[in-house]
């Protein structure tokens, strides 16, 4: 048990250390406001990262998620504007759509033995293209139900807000953890990531697992799209460009191997919070120019990964 969880422990240790450092510089970092923001602002990212984690664990990758989030927002906004449907009905339709979209990509990946990178890259173009077709302009969402969702929060002591979408994200992570670690499907995913050919010989239903993995990722991207539309109250076809890369980075920082077969859901949550922490820290600092912002983000990412590697090596030598 110990050795498998080392990357997770390293990730958590680094996160705590980084938070402590940030706190020592800006005491406001520990206010409930910032903590609440950390959850709310990264809710959509956390949800999509859960799907991404499963995909990466299976040895694949899903580049389409950023576009799917944008598409979801536009789809919801246009549907609410042009039809009289209740948002919940629109949500259901959307989730069905994105799940089928993901399953379709999984089907191509499995049946045609095409690399996931390329299939989902085409999916990325396709989803964003579809968003353009629905509406090129940003579409506001004015449905009263949305107001309800946006105002659903618990005011923590210190005026921080624990929002519905923040809690939803935590719930989704928990769900993802159960799926990944406690179901046969989850074990199959790990098995595929450990080596597709071997997994097949062991009796892993490769086709079904692959399709389900991408369908799950599509579902999560759709859910993340809903959360994002609640967060921004609009749908915009240019939104969340590059989010797939942020999600992948979060998953990797969370200790999951990009080559598949090794990693944890909780790690991903920590990875997402770490990305959020970096963003928050940079805003709190407020002195960086546009270009130094980019450089510092890159350096911090590198620092995290190096620290993680170093810790792992140290602990392995220690044994």
């Amino acid at each position: 048990m110990n050795t498998r969880l080392l990357p997770l422990y390293a990730t958590i240790a680094i996160f705590v250390l980084a938070y402590a450092l940030a706190y020592s510089q800006f005491p406001a970092m520990l206010s409930t406001r910032v903590i609440g923001n950390l959850l709310t602002d990264n809710a959509y990212l956390g949800i999509v990262a859960v799907g991404m984690t499963l995909v990466i664990l299976s040895g694949g990758i899903d580049l389409s998620v950023g576009s799917v989030i944008a598409f979801s927002g536009v789809f919801i906004a246009v549907a609410l504007r042009d039809t009289g449907l209740h948002p919940l009905a629109v949500f259901a339709a959307l989730l069905l759509l994105t799940t089928v979209f993901g399953a379709g990509m999984g089907f191509l990946i499995d049946r045609l033995a095409m690399p996931a990178f390329i299939v989902t890259l085409a999916g990325m173009f396709l989803a964003r293209g579809a968003a353009y077709l629905l509406s090129v302009q940003a579409v506001p969402i004015t449905h009263p139900f949305y107001k309800l969702l946006q105002d659903a929060y618990w005011l923590m002591p210190g005026r921080g807000r624990l929002t519905l979408i923040g809690v939803l994200m935590l719930a989704v992570v928990a769900l993802g953890a159960v799926v990944a670690h406690r179901t046969r499907f989850g074990t199959s995913v790990y098995a595929l990531g450990g080596g597709a050919q071997t997994a097949r010989l062991m009796g892993v239903p490769q086709g079904r697992t692959t399709v389900l993995v991408y369908a799950f990722s599509g579902l999560m991207a759709g859910l993340s799209g809903i959360v994002f539309s609640v967060y921004t109250g609009s749908g915009y076809s240019l939104a969340t460009v590059g989010t797939e890369l942020t999600a992948i980075a979060a998953v990797v920082i969370g200790g999951t191997l990009l080559t598949g077969g090794s990693g944890t859901m909780i790690g991903t949550l920590v990875g997402v919070l770490t990305m959020g922490l970096i963003q928050t820290y940079i805003v709190f600092d407020g002195s960086l120019s546009s270009w130094w912002t980019k450089i510092v983000i890159g350096l911090l990412l590198l620092g995290f990964i190096l620290l993680q590697k170093g810790l792992l090596r140290l602990s392995q030598r220690g044994r």
Binding site: N37, P140, Y231, S237, L238, A239, V283, S287, S289, K294
Partner: protein, 296 residues
């Protein structure tokens, strides 16, 4: 001193870099401490930044919104914390009560000015126009297109024959222009180019030159922003007109804030900057010299 948070879209163009530079300068001159945040083109980063500003308790927030929609809840949060928000250069569709004021130009109007200039220039002659659009879906691209089309509507001698996005960039501007030239009889069938920003126009000018035509005379060139490089082209007779979008949005914004802090004066909800037209008659070389050190 006052602390002002500034959530900037990013640094995607020279114009935006100039806006950032001028905002910093203005803040420094007035002795404010500026908390700067670059959102790298992403609304979610801007929302997160504003939330952090609120958590930090800044005295005012400047926001250059990347898109018009989706600001209600975060502006409400700022309002609840009683922090005034001033919008820079683009507007939002939220309720006016949620922000102190918006400083900017009217993007549709810019397109109209450019279109009107062309209408006057060709004076009734047939003119086939090609258009270089900004990034598909961005509000300047949409509004500047609308404005231009409004201006030429009703003038049957003017017609947009080709219109493609060139993502606001020079390189794409050149590439797309090349294909326009190709598709329109080597450029012989094109009378004017309208570009949604100067950068695309500068790229297109090179394409026109390389095709053996004279930009500015064989093909009229009109664009928007008034960045230094277009003035060089105008001075060289290679471009004809540009509509200014001033990068100094912070000046009026800070003025309004000062009045608000001092006496609680509520400024107007929209402080419009001038959309001035510059042509070859307007001392382009001088304009270039005045702008070249502003961080464009």
């Amino acid at each position: 001193a006052q602390t002002v948070g500034f959530s900037q879209i990013g640094s995607e163009s020279g114009w935006r870099a100039a806006e950032t530079t001028l905002t910093r300068q203005q803040a420094e001159e007035r002795g404010y401490q500026l908390q700067f945040s670059d959102a790298q083109q992403r609304q979610e980063n801007q929302i997160a930044a504003i939330r952090s500003f609120v958590a930090q308790g800044v005295d005012a927030i400047l926001l250059a919104p990347v898109v018009a929609t989706g600001w209600d809840s975060v502006l409400e949060e700022a309002a609840e914390a009683e922090i005034p928000v001033v919008l820079l250069d683009r507007r939002v569709d939220s309720d006016e009560s949620l922000y102190l004021t918006a400083v900017g130009s009217d993007l549709v109007h810019e397109g109209e000015v450019a279109g009107q200039w062309l209408v006057d220039q060709v004076a009734g002659e047939e003119c086939r126009i090609v258009e270089l659009q900004g990034t598909t879906g961005s509000s300047p691209a949409i509004d500047r297109k609308t404005g231009f089309e409004t201006a030429i509507a009703g003038h049957d001698n003017l017609e947009i024959v080709r219109s493609q996005t060139a993502d606001f960039t020079r390189a794409r501007g050149k590439e797309v222009m090349e294909s326009f030239l190709q598709a329109e009889g080597g450029g012989a069938d094109i009378c004017a180019l309208y570009a949604h920003n100067d950068d695309m126009a500068v790229g297109a000018i090179q394409a026109i030159k390389e095709a053996g035509l004279a930009p500015g005379s064989d093909i009229l060139v009109v664009s928007i922003d008034a960045v230094p490089d277009i003035f060089q082209a105008i001075a060289a007779g290679e471009a004809n007109a540009t509509v200014e979008l001033t990068p100094n949005m912070a000046g009026p914004a800070f003025d309004a804030l000062e009045a608000f802090w001092a006496e609680g004066t509520m400024p107007e909800k929209f402080i419009q900057t001038e959309s001035r037209l510059y042509t070859q008659a307007d001392d382009p070389q001088g304009e270039y010299d005045r702008r070249k050190d502003l961080g464009y």
